[in-house]
Amino acid sequence: MAELPKVNPEGLAKTYSGFGIPLILPAWIIIGFFLVIPVAMMLVYSFLTKEFRGGVIWEFSLSAYDQFFLYRGLFGDSPPVIEWTYISIFWRSIWQAGLATFCCLIIGFPTAWFIATRTGRNKTIWLFLITIPYWVNLLIRTISMKFLIRDNGPLNEFFLSIGLISEPFHIINTNFAVQLGLFYSYLPFMVLPIYAAVERYNFALSEAAADLYASRTVTLFKVILPTVKPGIVAGCILVFVPSLGAFLAPDLLGGAKNFMIGSLIEEQFKGAAGNWPFGAAASMILLSLVLIVLTFYARNQTRGQI
């Protein structure tokens, strides 16, 4: 007969950890099928030759990466120079995503602080209000935004009517419009983790800092921010990573001039003009960027766990 597991004070969790594998199995299967396999396929595709009507020819080639980084002239026979087109799209994407993250942080931190310091029911109501936009599909919200900010849209009409401006304010199809779209789409991803961190913040720490001669500014930078840092870092990653690969906001609000990585990749898999290996290679490069960010995050988290 099998021996009953002994319950010991420090190992109650251990006693039941045998149930762990069945619990996690469905998630493993889903991640295996819908994440690992597609990513592996992309990796393989990025090293294949392109088929002209979309798809791939099973023949090893580095041409996708070559095309991304190097320019060999119109006929492909000049000495290679660095191809800036795609690198600059990536650079713009990083810059846009970084700026969106920064704006979300500047607006999101006070918002999160405000919500976390409300009492009782008010807190729930404010949190609920933050999540309301998620009841509407992102595509629809982005299209409505396009409608709002276009040259003869309600926003411009309002400013014209109160005489604040004499000509329509040109927002649509600018970097600013993309920025607005990214900021609006991902702001709650910044607010919620910071809220969770501030909620756990022990306000006696602020009093202790004041008691030990710290001004409010010093208290903010030396005590509050370091304590809620895990929430801030999580929020920044949750905004930065999807912003980096976003294609709805740049497509709908930015127009052709303000291309971002997401749109570039999307183009490669659409219709006959596409280039699957190139799209796959661009995806792999994007993925490496994201992995760098996540490594930084993982390090940060483990360091905070002392």
């Binding site: 022990n202 720490l205 009093e207 202790a208 030990l212 005590v223």
Partner: protein
């Protein structure tokens, strides 16, 4: 202790209201330089509020607080030369012990090498030198408590506030830390203001105690004064155990009151200031009562219950007037213990009784 000592903190008629709730109502206290002063009272009595007013975390609604003659009403907490040991310690979780203790010193503009030397000195004082590099999360409750103490002592404040600092420790540790705190107070010469709801803590550590209840000061005095000469029913009952005996007061004069006990015996005993003629209460500590043969005491009754306490024994006596009196006896083989149901007399010296203000 001489009364002409310098005043450290002078609290003048301070009132604090939170909306409609009055937490402190016209509190006046003189806390002397270099004194171990305790604010004692049940939860909700206003003692923590008073501490927070002194620290500057709350604003005074009415009245004034002076620190060595200077009104500190307009000073922010970070501008007051007062440090606090918080109830849950409030150590900065992202800093190690050294950085926690050094925090206040650096804010005061001390250079790092000087501050480090001071940190070592203070950690030595609280016997935590070996833990300088630990994070707060790696320390036991008692060690965290000592870091909190070191952190508050490091900037050499004029006054140290301690908000129930021992309440999170277990009993044995609490008793050890009590002695240590007292020693540190003597060594550093800093005025300590100690908040507690534990009367034993207050009695054993303090130079003087202020008993608070309902936002008012009930009595201020040394441990002995408060225990032996309580002013009113609340103080007599809150500090230690006591028997409150209904008496009829016939005369009060020059701190003495003559009253008639239930059963008719008459005594003259010390009376609290403000005790009135008419019906009143006498406080009689259980350990000051002797059980004698029936008919030979000041009071008459019947033993109804024994309560065994180890070193001591409580005998509950039902008086002929109907009320109950508890008598404390040493659990000794030489003392005869009355049986339950036996009629007994209760005797005490008049000097052990105290006529109270109701």
């Amino acid at each position: 202790m001489s009364t002409d000592k310098k005043i450290s903190i002078d609290i003048q008629n301070v009132t604090k209201r939170f909306g409609a709730f009055t937490a402190l109502n016209g509190v006046s206290l003189d806390i002397r330089d270099n004194e171990f002063f305790t604010l004692l009272g049940p939860s909700g009595c206003g003692k923590t509020t008073l501490l927070r007013l002194i620290a500057g975390f709350e604003e005074v609604t009415d009245g004034a607080i002076h620190l060595y003659g200077q009104n500190i009403a307009d000073l922010l907490p970070n501008e007051r030369p007062i440090n606090t040991v918080f109830q849950q310690y409030a150590l900065f979780p992202h800093m190690n012990v050294t950085d926690n203790v050094m925090f206040g010193l650096l804010r005061l503009g001390q250079d790092t090498s000087k501050a480090k030397a001071r940190v070592l000195e203070v950690l030595e004082l609280v016997r935590l030198s070996d833990f300088a590099d630990r994070m707060p999360g790696q320390l036991s409750g008692g060690q965290q408590q000592r870091v909190a103490l070191a952190r508050a002592l490091a900037p050499s404040p004029k006054v140290l506030l301690l908000d129930e600092p021992l309440s999170a420790l277990d009993l044995k540790l609490r008793q050890a830390v009590r002695l240590e705190l007292q020693q540190i107070q003597v060594q550093t010469g800093i005025t300590f203001i100690f908040v507690t709801h534990d009367q034993e803590e207050a009695l054993t550590m303090s130079d003087r105690i202020a008993v608070l209840e309902g936002g008012r000061v009930q009595q201020v005095g040394s441990a002995r004064e408060i225990y032996e000469a309580p002013e009113n029913k609340f103080v007599a009952d809150f500090i230690g155990e006591t028997n409150l005996i209904d008496v009829t007061v016939s005369n009060v004069e020059k701190g003495k009151g003559s009253c008639v006990l239930p059963g008719g015996a008459q005594i003259i005993c010390s009376a609290a200031e403000g005790a009135l003629v008419g019906s009143g209460h006498l406080s009689l500590r259980p350990e000051r009562i002797k059980i004698t043969a029936s008919g030979k005491g000041m009071l008459e009754g019947k033993a109804v219950r024994h309560i065994y306490l180890g070193t001591d024994l409580h005998i509950e006596v039902s008086l002929t007037s109907g009320s109950h009196v508890t008598v404390r006896m040493q659990n000794s083989t030489q003392i005869k213990i009355p049986n339950v149901g036996q009629s007994v007399g209760l005797d005490f010296e008049a000097s052990s009784a105290r006529l109270l203000v109701d």
